[in-house]
Protein backbone atom coordinates (compact mmCIF):
# COMPACT_ATOMS: atom_id res chain seq x y z
CA UNK A 1 0.00 0.00 0.00
CA UNK A 2 2.91 2.33 0.82
CA UNK A 3 4.29 1.79 -2.67
CA UNK A 4 0.97 2.80 -4.20
CA UNK A 5 0.82 6.00 -2.14
CA UNK A 6 4.45 6.81 -2.92
CA UNK A 7 3.84 6.51 -6.67
CA UNK A 8 0.57 8.48 -6.31
CA UNK A 9 2.35 11.33 -4.49
CA UNK A 10 4.92 11.53 -7.31
CA UNK A 11 2.09 11.88 -9.86
CA UNK A 12 0.43 14.63 -7.78
CA UNK A 13 3.73 16.50 -7.43
CA UNK A 14 4.21 16.21 -11.18
CA UNK A 15 0.81 17.79 -11.80
CA UNK A 16 1.63 20.62 -9.40
CA UNK A 17 4.92 21.25 -11.22
CA UNK A 18 3.38 21.16 -14.70
CA UNK A 19 1.64 24.21 -16.09
CA UNK A 20 -1.42 22.47 -17.61
CA UNK A 21 -3.74 22.99 -14.68
CA UNK A 22 -2.74 26.62 -14.11
CA UNK A 23 -3.21 27.50 -17.77
CA UNK A 24 -6.63 25.84 -17.86
CA UNK A 25 -7.68 27.49 -14.61
CA UNK A 26 -6.60 30.93 -15.78
CA UNK A 27 -8.37 30.43 -19.12
CA UNK A 28 -11.56 29.29 -17.37
CA UNK A 29 -11.43 32.24 -14.99
CA UNK A 30 -10.67 34.75 -17.75
CA UNK A 31 -13.43 33.58 -20.08
CA UNK A 32 -15.94 33.45 -17.23
CA UNK A 33 -15.05 36.93 -16.02
CA UNK A 34 -15.19 38.37 -19.53
CA UNK A 35 -18.60 36.78 -20.09
CA UNK A 36 -19.70 38.06 -16.70
CA UNK A 37 -18.81 41.60 -17.67
CA UNK A 38 -21.23 41.59 -20.62
CA UNK A 39 -24.20 43.87 -20.04
CA UNK A 40 -27.62 42.41 -20.89
CA UNK A 41 -30.33 45.09 -20.75
CA UNK A 42 -28.76 46.76 -17.70
CA UNK A 43 -29.64 43.77 -15.54
CA UNK A 44 -26.87 42.80 -13.15
CA UNK A 45 -28.71 39.82 -11.65
CA UNK A 46 -28.66 37.52 -14.67
CA UNK A 47 -26.51 34.58 -13.61
CA UNK A 48 -27.57 31.27 -15.13
CA UNK A 49 -25.82 31.78 -18.49
CA UNK A 50 -22.64 32.55 -16.56
CA UNK A 51 -23.01 29.40 -14.46
CA UNK A 52 -23.53 27.35 -17.61
CA UNK A 53 -20.44 28.76 -19.34
CA UNK A 54 -18.30 28.37 -16.21
CA UNK A 55 -19.42 24.77 -15.63
CA UNK A 56 -18.87 23.88 -19.28
CA UNK A 57 -15.32 25.24 -19.08
CA UNK A 58 -14.74 23.36 -15.83
CA UNK A 59 -15.89 20.11 -17.45
CA UNK A 60 -13.68 20.60 -20.49
CA UNK A 61 -10.68 21.56 -18.36
CA UNK A 62 -11.13 18.64 -15.99
CA UNK A 63 -11.33 16.18 -18.89
CA UNK A 64 -8.17 17.68 -20.39
CA UNK A 65 -6.37 17.39 -17.03
CA UNK A 66 -7.59 13.82 -16.40
CA UNK A 67 -6.98 12.35 -19.84
CA UNK A 68 -3.85 14.40 -20.52
CA UNK A 69 -2.21 13.47 -17.22
CA UNK A 70 -3.08 9.78 -17.35
CA UNK A 71 -2.40 9.21 -21.04
CA UNK A 72 1.23 10.27 -20.80
CA UNK A 73 2.12 8.48 -17.54
CA UNK A 74 3.15 5.04 -18.84
CA UNK A 75 4.43 6.09 -22.31
CA UNK A 76 6.74 8.71 -20.76
CA UNK A 77 8.05 6.21 -18.20
CA UNK A 78 8.81 3.83 -21.06
CA UNK A 79 10.32 6.46 -23.33
CA UNK A 80 12.59 7.78 -20.57
CA UNK A 81 13.32 4.20 -19.52
CA UNK A 82 12.57 5.11 -15.88
CA UNK A 83 10.09 2.26 -15.70
CA UNK A 84 12.89 -0.30 -15.47
CA UNK A 85 14.57 1.05 -12.29
CA UNK A 86 11.09 1.61 -10.88
CA UNK A 87 10.08 -2.02 -11.40
CA UNK A 88 13.50 -3.21 -10.24
CA UNK A 89 12.51 -1.94 -6.79
CA UNK A 90 10.06 -4.01 -4.75
CA UNK A 91 7.14 -2.57 -6.71
CA UNK A 92 4.85 -4.88 -8.65
CA UNK A 93 3.30 -3.92 -11.97
CA UNK A 94 -0.16 -3.85 -10.34
CA UNK A 95 1.10 -1.49 -7.64
CA UNK A 96 2.60 0.75 -10.30
CA UNK A 97 -0.71 0.98 -12.15
CA UNK A 98 -2.75 1.49 -8.98
CA UNK A 99 -0.34 4.21 -7.86
CA UNK A 100 -0.56 5.97 -11.18
CA UNK A 101 -4.36 5.73 -11.14
CA UNK A 102 -4.67 6.98 -7.57
CA UNK A 103 -2.26 9.84 -8.22
CA UNK A 104 -4.10 11.01 -11.31
CA UNK A 105 -7.49 10.67 -9.69
CA UNK A 106 -6.43 12.57 -6.57
CA UNK A 107 -4.78 15.23 -8.73
CA UNK A 108 -8.08 15.63 -10.58
CA UNK A 109 -9.84 15.94 -7.23
CA UNK A 110 -7.46 18.71 -6.13
CA UNK A 111 -8.05 20.51 -9.45
CA UNK A 112 -11.81 20.14 -9.03
CA UNK A 113 -11.70 21.73 -5.57
CA UNK A 114 -10.06 24.81 -7.11
CA UNK A 115 -12.49 24.92 -10.02
CA UNK A 116 -15.63 24.51 -7.92
CA UNK A 117 -14.47 27.08 -5.37
CA UNK A 118 -14.10 29.55 -8.22
CA UNK A 119 -17.51 28.55 -9.59
CA UNK A 120 -19.09 29.01 -6.17
CA UNK A 121 -17.58 32.48 -5.85
CA UNK A 122 -18.83 33.50 -9.31
CA UNK A 123 -22.36 32.21 -8.62
CA UNK A 124 -22.44 33.79 -5.17
CA UNK A 125 -21.37 37.18 -6.50
CA UNK A 126 -24.72 37.37 -8.34
CA UNK A 127 -27.11 35.05 -6.49
CA UNK A 128 -26.03 35.91 -2.94
CA UNK A 129 -26.61 32.27 -1.94
CA UNK A 130 -24.23 29.34 -1.55
CA UNK A 131 -26.08 26.02 -1.96
CA UNK A 132 -23.23 24.00 -0.49
CA UNK A 133 -24.92 20.58 -0.70
CA UNK A 134 -25.71 21.02 -4.39
CA UNK A 135 -22.16 22.09 -5.19
CA UNK A 136 -20.69 19.26 -3.13
CA UNK A 137 -22.86 16.69 -4.92
CA UNK A 138 -21.94 18.14 -8.32
CA UNK A 139 -18.21 18.11 -7.52
CA UNK A 140 -18.38 14.64 -5.98
CA UNK A 141 -20.20 13.09 -8.96
CA UNK A 142 -17.82 14.92 -11.30
CA UNK A 143 -14.87 13.40 -9.45
CA UNK A 144 -16.43 9.92 -9.61
CA UNK A 145 -16.86 10.36 -13.36
CA UNK A 146 -13.22 11.39 -13.68
CA UNK A 147 -12.28 8.16 -11.88
CA UNK A 148 -13.88 6.18 -14.72
CA UNK A 149 -12.22 8.42 -17.32
CA UNK A 150 -8.77 8.09 -15.71
CA UNK A 151 -9.14 4.29 -15.55
CA UNK A 152 -10.24 4.26 -19.19
CA UNK A 153 -7.24 6.39 -20.19
CA UNK A 154 -4.98 4.02 -18.27
CA UNK A 155 -6.37 1.03 -20.18
CA UNK A 156 -5.88 3.01 -23.39
CA UNK A 157 -2.24 3.77 -22.54
CA UNK A 158 -1.57 0.04 -22.38
CA UNK A 159 -3.53 -0.84 -25.52
CA UNK A 160 -2.38 2.03 -27.74
CA UNK A 161 1.25 2.73 -28.43
CA UNK A 162 1.13 6.54 -28.64
CA UNK A 163 -0.15 8.86 -25.89
CA UNK A 164 -1.70 11.21 -28.46
CA UNK A 165 -3.77 8.41 -30.03
CA UNK A 166 -4.93 7.28 -26.62
CA UNK A 167 -5.89 10.81 -25.55
CA UNK A 168 -7.80 11.46 -28.78
CA UNK A 169 -9.72 8.18 -28.62
CA UNK A 170 -10.54 8.73 -24.94
CA UNK A 171 -11.84 12.24 -25.69
CA UNK A 172 -14.02 11.01 -28.53
CA UNK A 173 -15.41 8.18 -26.41
CA UNK A 174 -16.11 10.32 -23.35
CA UNK A 175 -17.72 13.18 -25.28
CA UNK A 176 -19.70 10.69 -27.36
CA UNK A 177 -21.04 8.97 -24.24
CA UNK A 178 -21.87 12.29 -22.59
CA UNK A 179 -23.77 13.53 -25.64
CA UNK A 180 -25.40 10.35 -26.94
CA UNK A 181 -25.18 7.78 -24.16
CA UNK A 182 -28.67 8.11 -22.77
CA UNK A 183 -30.31 8.33 -26.21
CA UNK A 184 -28.84 5.16 -27.71
CA UNK A 185 -31.85 3.02 -26.78
CA UNK A 186 -34.23 5.52 -28.45
CA UNK A 187 -32.02 5.59 -31.54
CA UNK A 188 -31.92 1.79 -31.65
CA UNK A 189 -35.73 1.62 -31.91
CA UNK A 190 -35.53 3.26 -35.34
CA UNK A 191 -33.05 0.64 -36.58
CA UNK A 192 -33.51 -2.76 -38.14
CA UNK A 193 -31.75 -5.94 -37.03
CA UNK A 194 -28.87 -6.60 -36.43
CA UNK A 195 -28.00 -2.89 -35.97
CA UNK A 196 -30.67 -2.62 -33.27
CA UNK A 197 -29.22 -5.42 -31.13
CA UNK A 198 -25.68 -4.09 -31.58
CA UNK A 199 -26.73 -0.55 -30.55
CA UNK A 200 -28.67 -1.85 -27.56
CA UNK A 201 -25.70 -3.97 -26.51
CA UNK A 202 -23.49 -0.89 -26.66
CA UNK A 203 -26.11 1.04 -24.67
CA UNK A 204 -26.05 -1.49 -21.84
CA UNK A 205 -22.28 -2.03 -21.95
CA UNK A 206 -20.92 1.52 -21.91
CA UNK A 207 -20.37 3.45 -18.68
CA UNK A 208 -23.17 6.03 -18.62
CA UNK A 209 -21.09 9.06 -17.73
CA UNK A 210 -24.14 11.32 -18.12
CA UNK A 211 -25.30 10.06 -14.69
CA UNK A 212 -22.56 12.21 -13.20
CA UNK A 213 -23.46 15.35 -15.14
CA UNK A 214 -25.79 17.36 -12.90
CA UNK A 215 -24.95 20.73 -14.45
CA UNK A 216 -28.57 21.47 -15.40
CA UNK A 217 -29.68 20.92 -11.81
CA UNK A 218 -27.00 23.33 -10.56
CA UNK A 219 -27.58 25.97 -13.24
CA UNK A 220 -31.34 26.11 -12.69
CA UNK A 221 -31.25 25.88 -8.88
CA UNK A 222 -33.03 22.53 -8.62
CA UNK A 223 -33.02 20.86 -5.20
CA UNK A 224 -30.17 18.44 -4.36
CA UNK A 225 -30.34 14.80 -5.48
CA UNK A 226 -31.23 12.20 -2.87
CA UNK A 227 -28.09 10.92 -1.14
CA UNK A 228 -28.98 7.29 -1.87
CA UNK A 229 -29.10 8.08 -5.60
CA UNK A 230 -25.75 9.86 -5.29
CA UNK A 231 -24.32 6.80 -3.52
CA UNK A 232 -25.66 4.43 -6.18
CA UNK A 233 -24.13 6.55 -8.94
CA UNK A 234 -20.79 6.55 -7.10
CA UNK A 235 -20.91 2.76 -6.77
CA UNK A 236 -21.77 2.50 -10.48
CA UNK A 237 -18.77 4.67 -11.37
CA UNK A 238 -16.43 2.74 -9.10
CA UNK A 239 -17.58 -0.53 -10.62
CA UNK A 240 -16.62 0.62 -14.12
CA UNK A 241 -13.35 2.09 -12.87
CA UNK A 242 -12.55 -1.26 -11.24
CA UNK A 243 -13.35 -3.12 -14.46
CA UNK A 244 -11.02 -0.85 -16.46
CA UNK A 245 -8.30 -1.07 -13.79
CA UNK A 246 -8.51 -4.85 -13.60
CA UNK A 247 -8.30 -5.07 -17.41
CA UNK A 248 -5.30 -2.73 -17.36
CA UNK A 249 -3.52 -4.83 -14.71
CA UNK A 250 -4.27 -8.03 -16.62
CA UNK A 251 -2.90 -6.64 -19.89
CA UNK A 252 0.07 -4.85 -18.31
CA UNK A 253 1.28 -8.01 -16.58
CA UNK A 254 1.55 -9.73 -19.97
CA UNK A 255 3.03 -6.77 -21.83
CA UNK A 256 6.67 -6.66 -22.82
CA UNK A 257 8.08 -3.30 -21.73
CA UNK A 258 11.07 -3.09 -24.04
CA UNK A 259 9.04 -2.92 -27.28
Amino acid sequence: MNNIFAIASVVIREMIRRKDFYVLFILTALITLVMGSVNFFNDGKIVRYLKEICLLLIWISSLVVAIGTMARQLPSERENRTIFPLLAKPVSRTELLLGKFLGCWLACGIALIGFYLFFGCVAMSREKTWPLINYFQAAWLHWMMLGVVVALAMLGSIVFSAASANATICFVLVVGILLLGRHLNKVSLQMSEPARTITQSIYFAIPHLEFFDVRDLIIHNWPPIRWLVCLKASAYGMLYATVFLASSCFLFRRKALNT
Partner: protein, 296 residues
Amino acid sequence: MKRPLYLIVPLLLMLAVCFATDLQRWFSSVNENSKRSQDPLSLLLGDARKMFANHFFIKADAYFHSGFYPTIYDNREAFKTPHTAEDSGAMKGQNTGDEEHFPGKKRDWIDGFGRQFFPSVHTHLGQDAPGGKTNGVELADGSGDVREILPWLKTAASFDPERIETYSVTAYWLRSELKKIDEAEGFLRDGLRANPGHPQLLFELGRIYFEDRHGTNHARNVWELALRNVGDLTDWSGERRFLIGQLLGQLAKLEEGAGDYPRAMTYLASLKQVSPSPESVQKWMNDLQAKISPPN
Protein backbone atom coordinates in the same frame (compact mmCIF):
# COMPACT_ATOMS: atom_id res chain seq x y z
CA MET B 1 21.54 54.93 -67.83
CA LYS B 2 21.15 53.45 -64.38
CA ARG B 3 17.95 54.62 -62.60
CA PRO B 4 17.98 55.02 -58.82
CA LEU B 5 16.10 52.29 -56.91
CA TYR B 6 14.14 54.71 -54.73
CA LEU B 7 12.07 55.83 -57.73
CA ILE B 8 10.65 52.34 -58.14
CA VAL B 9 9.15 52.29 -54.61
CA PRO B 10 6.72 55.24 -55.12
CA LEU B 11 5.88 53.87 -58.54
CA LEU B 12 4.92 50.49 -57.05
CA LEU B 13 2.93 52.22 -54.31
CA MET B 14 1.04 54.26 -56.91
CA LEU B 15 0.28 51.10 -58.85
CA ALA B 16 -0.97 49.39 -55.68
CA VAL B 17 -3.31 52.29 -54.92
CA CYS B 18 -4.65 52.20 -58.49
CA PHE B 19 -5.30 48.46 -58.25
CA ALA B 20 -6.90 48.85 -54.82
CA THR B 21 -9.37 51.50 -56.00
CA ASP B 22 -10.28 49.42 -59.02
CA LEU B 23 -10.67 46.22 -57.00
CA GLN B 24 -12.80 48.00 -54.38
CA ARG B 25 -15.29 49.02 -57.12
CA TRP B 26 -15.43 45.44 -58.32
CA PHE B 27 -15.76 44.06 -54.77
CA SER B 28 -18.70 46.37 -54.03
CA SER B 29 -20.48 45.36 -57.21
CA VAL B 30 -19.97 41.64 -56.53
CA ASN B 31 -21.40 41.86 -53.00
CA GLU B 32 -25.09 42.62 -53.34
CA ASN B 33 -25.34 43.58 -49.72
CA SER B 34 -22.08 45.22 -48.80
CA LYS B 35 -23.49 46.30 -45.45
CA ARG B 36 -24.08 42.70 -44.43
CA SER B 37 -20.68 41.59 -45.61
CA GLN B 38 -19.04 43.99 -43.17
CA ASP B 39 -20.61 42.20 -40.22
CA PRO B 40 -17.86 39.93 -38.76
CA LEU B 41 -20.37 37.21 -37.78
CA SER B 42 -21.72 37.06 -41.33
CA LEU B 43 -18.21 36.93 -42.72
CA LEU B 44 -17.26 34.10 -40.42
CA LEU B 45 -20.38 31.98 -40.46
CA GLY B 46 -22.37 32.95 -43.54
CA ASP B 47 -25.91 31.60 -43.42
CA ALA B 48 -24.90 29.17 -40.65
CA ARG B 49 -25.44 32.07 -38.24
CA LYS B 50 -29.20 31.54 -38.68
CA MET B 51 -28.79 28.00 -37.42
CA PHE B 52 -26.91 29.28 -34.38
CA ALA B 53 -29.55 31.97 -33.83
CA ASN B 54 -32.25 29.31 -33.85
CA HIS B 55 -30.24 27.26 -31.36
CA PHE B 56 -29.97 30.20 -28.96
CA PHE B 57 -33.66 31.05 -29.39
CA ILE B 58 -34.56 27.48 -28.40
CA LYS B 59 -32.00 27.66 -25.60
CA ALA B 60 -33.90 30.63 -24.15
CA ASP B 61 -37.03 28.46 -24.14
CA ALA B 62 -35.11 25.65 -22.41
CA TYR B 63 -34.08 28.19 -19.75
CA PHE B 64 -37.73 29.26 -19.46
CA HIS B 65 -38.41 25.64 -18.47
CA SER B 66 -35.38 25.51 -16.13
CA GLY B 67 -33.68 22.87 -18.25
CA PHE B 68 -36.72 20.54 -18.61
CA TYR B 69 -36.71 20.45 -22.39
CA PRO B 70 -36.92 17.74 -25.08
CA THR B 71 -33.83 16.84 -27.08
CA ILE B 72 -33.97 15.94 -30.76
CA TYR B 73 -34.48 12.32 -29.69
CA ASP B 74 -37.61 13.08 -27.63
CA ASN B 75 -41.21 13.76 -28.55
CA ARG B 76 -41.30 17.49 -29.40
CA GLU B 77 -44.99 17.78 -30.26
CA ALA B 78 -45.65 19.98 -27.22
CA PHE B 79 -42.64 22.19 -27.93
CA LYS B 80 -43.00 22.93 -31.66
CA THR B 81 -43.56 26.60 -30.89
CA PRO B 82 -41.30 27.88 -28.11
CA HIS B 83 -43.44 28.67 -25.07
CA THR B 84 -41.65 31.98 -24.57
CA ALA B 85 -42.85 33.04 -28.03
CA GLU B 86 -46.35 31.59 -27.65
CA ASP B 87 -46.92 33.25 -24.26
CA SER B 88 -45.71 36.58 -25.61
CA GLY B 89 -48.07 36.42 -28.60
CA ALA B 90 -45.17 36.73 -31.03
CA MET B 91 -45.95 33.37 -32.65
CA LYS B 92 -49.12 31.43 -33.17
CA GLY B 93 -49.01 28.29 -31.04
CA GLN B 94 -48.83 24.97 -32.87
CA ASN B 95 -48.17 22.82 -29.84
CA THR B 96 -50.05 19.61 -29.27
CA GLY B 97 -49.45 16.71 -26.94
CA ASP B 98 -48.43 16.42 -23.34
CA GLU B 99 -45.77 18.89 -22.31
CA GLU B 100 -45.44 17.29 -18.86
CA HIS B 101 -44.52 13.79 -19.99
CA PHE B 102 -42.50 14.15 -23.19
CA PRO B 103 -39.76 11.75 -21.93
CA GLY B 104 -42.39 8.97 -22.01
CA LYS B 105 -42.37 5.85 -19.86
CA LYS B 106 -39.10 4.57 -18.40
CA ARG B 107 -37.65 2.15 -20.92
CA ASP B 108 -35.10 0.39 -18.72
CA TRP B 109 -33.23 0.85 -15.44
CA ILE B 110 -30.57 3.08 -17.05
CA ASP B 111 -33.26 5.40 -18.41
CA GLY B 112 -35.11 5.43 -15.09
CA PHE B 113 -32.00 6.00 -12.99
CA GLY B 114 -30.65 8.63 -15.38
CA ARG B 115 -33.75 10.80 -15.05
CA GLN B 116 -32.73 11.70 -11.52
CA PHE B 117 -29.71 13.62 -12.78
CA PHE B 118 -31.44 16.19 -14.97
CA PRO B 119 -34.58 18.32 -14.55
CA SER B 120 -37.68 16.17 -14.97
CA VAL B 121 -40.53 18.46 -13.88
CA HIS B 122 -42.30 20.94 -16.14
CA THR B 123 -42.08 24.47 -14.74
CA HIS B 124 -41.97 28.03 -16.06
CA LEU B 125 -39.62 30.77 -14.92
CA GLY B 126 -41.28 33.43 -12.86
CA GLN B 127 -44.17 31.11 -12.02
CA ASP B 128 -43.34 27.77 -10.45
CA ALA B 129 -39.67 27.30 -11.31
CA PRO B 130 -37.10 26.28 -8.68
CA GLY B 131 -35.56 29.35 -7.12
CA GLY B 132 -38.50 31.37 -8.36
CA LYS B 133 -41.35 33.09 -6.62
CA THR B 134 -42.97 30.07 -5.00
CA ASN B 135 -39.91 28.24 -3.76
CA GLY B 136 -38.77 30.65 -1.13
CA VAL B 137 -35.34 31.31 -2.64
CA GLU B 138 -36.41 34.45 -4.46
CA LEU B 139 -33.33 35.81 -6.20
CA ALA B 140 -34.85 38.83 -7.83
CA ASP B 141 -36.57 41.95 -6.66
CA GLY B 142 -40.03 40.41 -7.08
CA SER B 143 -39.80 40.16 -10.83
CA GLY B 144 -39.05 36.42 -11.03
CA ASP B 145 -36.30 34.78 -12.96
CA VAL B 146 -37.50 35.41 -16.51
CA ARG B 147 -34.45 37.64 -16.87
CA GLU B 148 -32.40 34.46 -17.28
CA ILE B 149 -33.69 33.93 -20.84
CA LEU B 150 -32.49 37.37 -21.96
CA PRO B 151 -28.79 36.63 -22.68
CA TRP B 152 -29.73 33.86 -25.13
CA LEU B 153 -32.32 36.02 -26.87
CA LYS B 154 -29.87 38.87 -27.25
CA THR B 155 -27.25 36.45 -28.59
CA ALA B 156 -29.82 35.04 -31.03
CA ALA B 157 -30.55 38.57 -32.27
CA SER B 158 -26.87 39.32 -32.79
CA PHE B 159 -26.47 36.10 -34.80
CA ASP B 160 -29.53 36.71 -36.95
CA PRO B 161 -30.73 40.34 -36.88
CA GLU B 162 -33.43 39.52 -39.43
CA ARG B 163 -35.25 37.08 -37.16
CA ILE B 164 -38.26 39.14 -36.06
CA GLU B 165 -39.59 36.87 -33.30
CA THR B 166 -36.43 37.36 -31.27
CA TYR B 167 -37.13 41.09 -30.88
CA SER B 168 -40.85 40.62 -30.20
CA VAL B 169 -40.32 37.94 -27.57
CA THR B 170 -37.51 39.83 -25.84
CA ALA B 171 -39.46 43.09 -25.79
CA TYR B 172 -42.54 41.34 -24.39
CA TRP B 173 -40.69 39.76 -21.45
CA LEU B 174 -38.67 42.91 -20.80
CA ARG B 175 -41.74 45.11 -20.49
CA SER B 176 -44.30 42.70 -19.05
CA GLU B 177 -42.31 40.80 -16.42
CA LEU B 178 -39.23 42.90 -15.79
CA LYS B 179 -40.81 46.35 -16.30
CA LYS B 180 -37.80 47.46 -18.36
CA ILE B 181 -39.75 49.62 -20.79
CA ASP B 182 -36.81 51.68 -22.06
CA GLU B 183 -34.73 48.58 -22.72
CA ALA B 184 -37.65 46.92 -24.54
CA GLU B 185 -38.17 49.96 -26.73
CA GLY B 186 -34.45 50.24 -27.42
CA PHE B 187 -34.24 46.59 -28.45
CA LEU B 188 -37.25 46.94 -30.77
CA ARG B 189 -35.64 49.98 -32.35
CA ASP B 190 -32.49 47.89 -32.92
CA GLY B 191 -34.76 45.42 -34.68
CA LEU B 192 -36.34 48.15 -36.76
CA ARG B 193 -32.92 49.41 -37.80
CA ALA B 194 -32.11 45.91 -39.06
CA ASN B 195 -35.61 45.39 -40.55
CA PRO B 196 -36.99 48.84 -41.45
CA GLY B 197 -40.78 49.18 -41.16
CA HIS B 198 -41.45 45.56 -40.25
CA PRO B 199 -45.13 45.37 -39.14
CA GLN B 200 -44.53 42.82 -36.36
CA LEU B 201 -41.93 45.09 -34.74
CA LEU B 202 -44.14 48.13 -35.19
CA PHE B 203 -46.99 46.22 -33.57
CA GLU B 204 -44.81 45.47 -30.52
CA LEU B 205 -43.62 49.09 -30.41
CA GLY B 206 -47.25 50.21 -30.47
CA ARG B 207 -48.01 47.95 -27.54
CA ILE B 208 -45.28 49.65 -25.53
CA TYR B 209 -46.72 53.09 -26.33
CA PHE B 210 -50.30 51.98 -25.64
CA GLU B 211 -49.95 49.69 -22.64
CA ASP B 212 -46.88 51.04 -20.87
CA ARG B 213 -46.48 54.67 -21.88
CA HIS B 214 -50.25 55.29 -22.32
CA GLY B 215 -49.57 57.32 -25.46
CA THR B 216 -52.75 56.67 -27.46
CA ASN B 217 -51.88 58.91 -30.41
CA HIS B 218 -48.37 57.56 -30.69
CA ALA B 219 -49.63 53.98 -30.55
CA ARG B 220 -52.32 54.70 -33.16
CA ASN B 221 -49.75 56.16 -35.56
CA VAL B 222 -47.41 53.21 -35.15
CA TRP B 223 -50.15 50.59 -35.56
CA GLU B 224 -51.64 52.33 -38.58
CA LEU B 225 -48.17 52.39 -40.14
CA ALA B 226 -47.84 48.69 -39.34
CA LEU B 227 -51.20 48.00 -41.00
CA ARG B 228 -50.10 49.91 -44.10
CA ASN B 229 -46.81 47.96 -44.16
CA VAL B 230 -48.69 44.66 -43.94
CA GLY B 231 -50.07 45.44 -47.37
CA ASP B 232 -52.85 43.26 -48.70
CA LEU B 233 -55.18 42.48 -45.78
CA THR B 234 -56.78 39.59 -47.65
CA ASP B 235 -53.49 37.73 -47.99
CA TRP B 236 -53.51 35.44 -44.96
CA SER B 237 -50.51 33.33 -45.78
CA GLY B 238 -48.19 32.11 -43.02
CA GLU B 239 -48.21 34.17 -39.84
CA ARG B 240 -49.81 37.17 -41.59
CA ARG B 241 -53.35 36.28 -40.53
CA PHE B 242 -52.27 36.17 -36.88
CA LEU B 243 -50.49 39.53 -37.15
CA ILE B 244 -53.34 41.24 -39.05
CA GLY B 245 -55.80 39.98 -36.43
CA GLN B 246 -53.63 41.29 -33.60
CA LEU B 247 -53.24 44.71 -35.26
CA LEU B 248 -56.95 45.11 -36.01
CA GLY B 249 -57.92 43.96 -32.54
CA GLN B 250 -55.54 46.38 -30.83
CA LEU B 251 -56.62 49.28 -33.06
CA ALA B 252 -60.29 48.54 -32.35
CA LYS B 253 -59.54 48.44 -28.62
CA LEU B 254 -57.61 51.72 -28.85
CA GLU B 255 -60.40 53.52 -30.75
CA GLU B 256 -63.02 52.17 -28.37
CA GLY B 257 -61.01 53.51 -25.47
CA ALA B 258 -60.59 56.86 -27.26
CA GLY B 259 -64.37 57.06 -27.85
CA ASP B 260 -64.17 56.86 -31.64
CA TYR B 261 -66.75 54.04 -31.94
CA PRO B 262 -67.42 54.25 -35.70
CA ARG B 263 -63.72 53.83 -36.41
CA ALA B 264 -63.55 50.95 -33.96
CA MET B 265 -66.49 49.34 -35.78
CA THR B 266 -64.59 49.60 -39.08
CA TYR B 267 -61.60 47.76 -37.59
CA LEU B 268 -63.87 45.15 -36.01
CA ALA B 269 -65.60 44.51 -39.33
CA SER B 270 -62.20 43.73 -40.85
CA LEU B 271 -61.21 41.71 -37.80
CA LYS B 272 -64.32 39.56 -38.11
CA GLN B 273 -63.10 38.32 -41.49
CA VAL B 274 -59.66 37.43 -40.17
CA SER B 275 -60.51 36.10 -36.73
CA PRO B 276 -60.75 32.33 -36.15
CA SER B 277 -63.71 33.05 -33.82
CA PRO B 278 -65.95 35.60 -35.63
CA GLU B 279 -68.73 35.04 -33.08
CA SER B 280 -66.78 36.72 -30.31
CA VAL B 281 -65.94 39.64 -32.63
CA GLN B 282 -69.64 39.93 -33.51
CA LYS B 283 -70.48 40.05 -29.81
CA TRP B 284 -67.91 42.83 -29.37
CA MET B 285 -69.49 44.68 -32.32
CA ASN B 286 -72.94 44.31 -30.78
CA ASP B 287 -71.71 45.77 -27.51
CA LEU B 288 -70.12 48.65 -29.38
CA GLN B 289 -73.29 49.20 -31.42
CA ALA B 290 -75.23 49.43 -28.19
CA LYS B 291 -72.88 52.19 -27.05
CA ILE B 292 -73.28 54.10 -30.35
CA SER B 293 -77.06 53.90 -30.38
CA PRO B 294 -78.35 52.80 -26.96
CA PRO B 295 -81.65 50.88 -27.15
CA ASN B 296 -84.65 52.94 -26.05
